[in-house]
């Protein structure tokens, strides 16, 4: 009988914490999304008022669109570039250890340092324009032009994400037994055929994992818009989590922010349901 609950006692502290700081806030966000609340006066019920306000708010629609563009603009290039990088790093070459170190070191970098460095690089007189001037391309105001601000931020996301996901791909590649390649070589398969018929199928769980995680990470990220562009110019970089942050902590419309959180959560949920499947089949085995 004692034995029966011992395991539960081990789990209890973590469970209490997650209930208090994950499930309770989530429930509260859901509840609050039906109230008007500005932190000062007590919440007043508005029914679906917050959702209606969002629906009628052009900034919310713009923000949704920006979020979708940013998420895909970061995640999709990551899938391919990270795989390409992992394949490169998996080859034997002189100084491979040092090369890998060079690629993995930036993963440890602080997100705020990255934001500051890139704001400096994208400065009208910064290094990016400096390098472009070498090939006679005119100066671009990367962060203050509506057309270039979001792609500029997405490029940072890709630059930062590729090594991260390459690590995962690399682990997947190294888990493929070498005998498969030996056997196919004896059968006379070419390099492309080996990639297409051995590497890709065996890497499938890793690929799906990378796809889902990269989408989730890109979807929630808003440090760069916050620090580098403040969502501008003209809201062209105001991703959904930033919209929520602004609504809640700049305009103190907590109810509306909560409603927008529920929408964002719905999107995350969609991706995570898929991720769960993957974790159960692939990683958790």
């Amino acid at each position: 009988m004692r034995q029966r609950w011992t395991g539960f006692l081990f789990v209890l502290p973590a469970l209490v914490h997650l209930v208090l700081f994950k499930f309770y806030p989530m429930a509260q966000a859901f509840g609050l999304s039906f109230f008007k609340y500005d932190l000062l006066s007590p919440p007043t019920p508005t029914g679906l008022g917050n959702y209606r306000a969002l629906w009628e708010n052009p900034l919310f629609h713009q923000s949704l669109g920006v979020s979708v563009k940013y998420t895909l603009g970061v995640a999709v290039p990551e899938w391919f570039l990270a795989l390409a990088l992992a394949l490169l790093l998996n080859r034997s070459m002189p100084g491979r250890g040092v090369i890998r170190l060079a690629y993995f070191l930036p993963i440890a970098m602080s997100q705020i340092v990255v934001a500051l460095v890139w704001k400096f690089l994208y400065h009208p007189y910064g290094l990016v324009n400096g390098l472009l001037s070498l090939v006679s391309i005119d100066r671009v105001n990367w962060l203050s032009d509506e057309a270039t601000a979001l792609p500029a931020l997405a490029a940072i996301g890709v630059w930062r994400g590729v090594p991260l996901f390459a690590v995962v791909y690399l682990a997947g590649l190294q888990a493929i037994p070498g005998e498969y390649y030996e056997a196919s070589r004896i059968d006379g398969a070419g390099e492309w055929q080996r990639f297409r018929y051995i590497t890709l199928p065996l890497l499938r769980p890793t690929i799906l994992f990378v796809v889902v995680v990269s989408l989730l990470l890109a979807m929630k990220f808003f440090v760069n818009p916050l620090v580098m562009t403040e969502g501008g110019p003209n809201g062209s970089t105001r991703v959904l989590p930033y919209f929520i942050y602004e609504t809640g902590f700049a305009f103190f419309r907590m109810g509306e922010a909560a409603a927008a959180s529920v929408v964002l959560f719905g999107m995350a949920f969609l991706f995570t349901v898929v991720q769960f499947r993957l974790l159960r089949h692939g990683v958790a085995g």
Partner: protein, 273 residues
């Protein structure tokens, strides 16, 4: 001969990629040692003509970075310890015991992976406010203290630990917690190290959460301080880069010392940003 030529081309591509990746950091360090006039000079000057070491003390004197540094370290270490300890306790319970609703507990915990702080920013703020912990170390640390990723990572590791190890200790009359502390923990060092390194990295970098709940100068973290520096009107890039280099150092040291644990952790958990 063809093959070798292609091999060299790919080697070259690999090196070129690394250069593109590291160039911004090189530029950051180089610019941190230039004068204000030199940082935007064309044609590009890759190295400062005369390194301006005084940029560092000047930059660090603009804000109380010593306090920020201490706060970041305190938050990162506290959260890491909580994370590793509470997380591995839970993981051990889930991996090595049977009890009612175990699967449900595990799924519920895993499901919190889709509730990152960015999504729960507003309601978590309200909970911490209800607890009266706004603007305090408790408020900074407590909501971050448990992370389902850690539980997941450790559980995977514990599942592979032989049961006989635990049974033997139990027969010797060891208490249940004693078994965990004296048998399981010492046998799980690689996984614990991986989790510790990842957790430290992530929490050294805390920016949004402190931004939302901290207003007192004495509680601000280093990333928050850097952002303030950036936002201040007399900020100039050479000094900002100097402060950023200082903020980067703990991560670099951590990575170089614990490189293997770090990479192992990334591959085990999927990843954190």
């Amino acid at each position: 001969m063809m093959r070798r030529g292609r091999g060299y081309a790919l080697d070259l591509l690999t090196v070129a990629g690394a250069v593109v990746l590291l160039l911004p950091y090189f530029w950051m360090v180089s610019s941190s040692l230039k004068t204000q006039d030199e940082i935007f000079r064309l044609p590009i000057e890759w190295l400062p003509p005369v390194p301006q070491w005084t940029n560092y003390p000047t930059a660090l004197a603009r804000f109380p970075f010593g306090i920020y540094f201490f706060n970041s370290a305190l938050v990162a270490v506290s959260v890491m310890l909580c994370n590793v300890f509470i997380g591995s306790l839970a993981a051990y319970g889930l991996a090595k015991f049977r009890f009612p609703f175990r699967e449900l507990c595990f799924r519920a915990m895993l499901s919190t992976l889709m509730l990152p702080l960015e999504i729960l920013l507003v309601p978590t703020f309200l909970v911490v406010r209800q607890l009266g912990l706004l603007d305090s170390y408790g408020g900074l640390i407590l909501p971050l203290a448990v992370d389902a990723f850690g539980i997941f990572l450790m559980r995977q590791y514990f599942l592979d630990l032989p049961d006989s190890l635990i049974e033997a200790a139990r027969l010797d009359g060891c208490s249940e917690f004693g078994i965990f502390w004296r048998i399981v923990v010492p046998n799980s060092r690689p996984a614990l190290a991986a989790l510790a390194v990842l957790s430290f990295r992530e929490n050294w970098d805390q920016f949004l959460w402190p931004l939302v709940i901290v207003s007192r100068e004495a509680l601000k973290t280093f990333p928050l301080g850097l952002a303030l520096f950036e936002g201040s009107f007399n900020a100039s890039y050479h000094e900002m880069m100097a402060a950023a280099v200082v903020g980067m150092i703990p991560m670099m040291v951590l990575f170089l010392v614990f490189q293997r644990a770090f990479v192992r952790g990334l591959t085990l958990t999927g990843l954190r940003e």
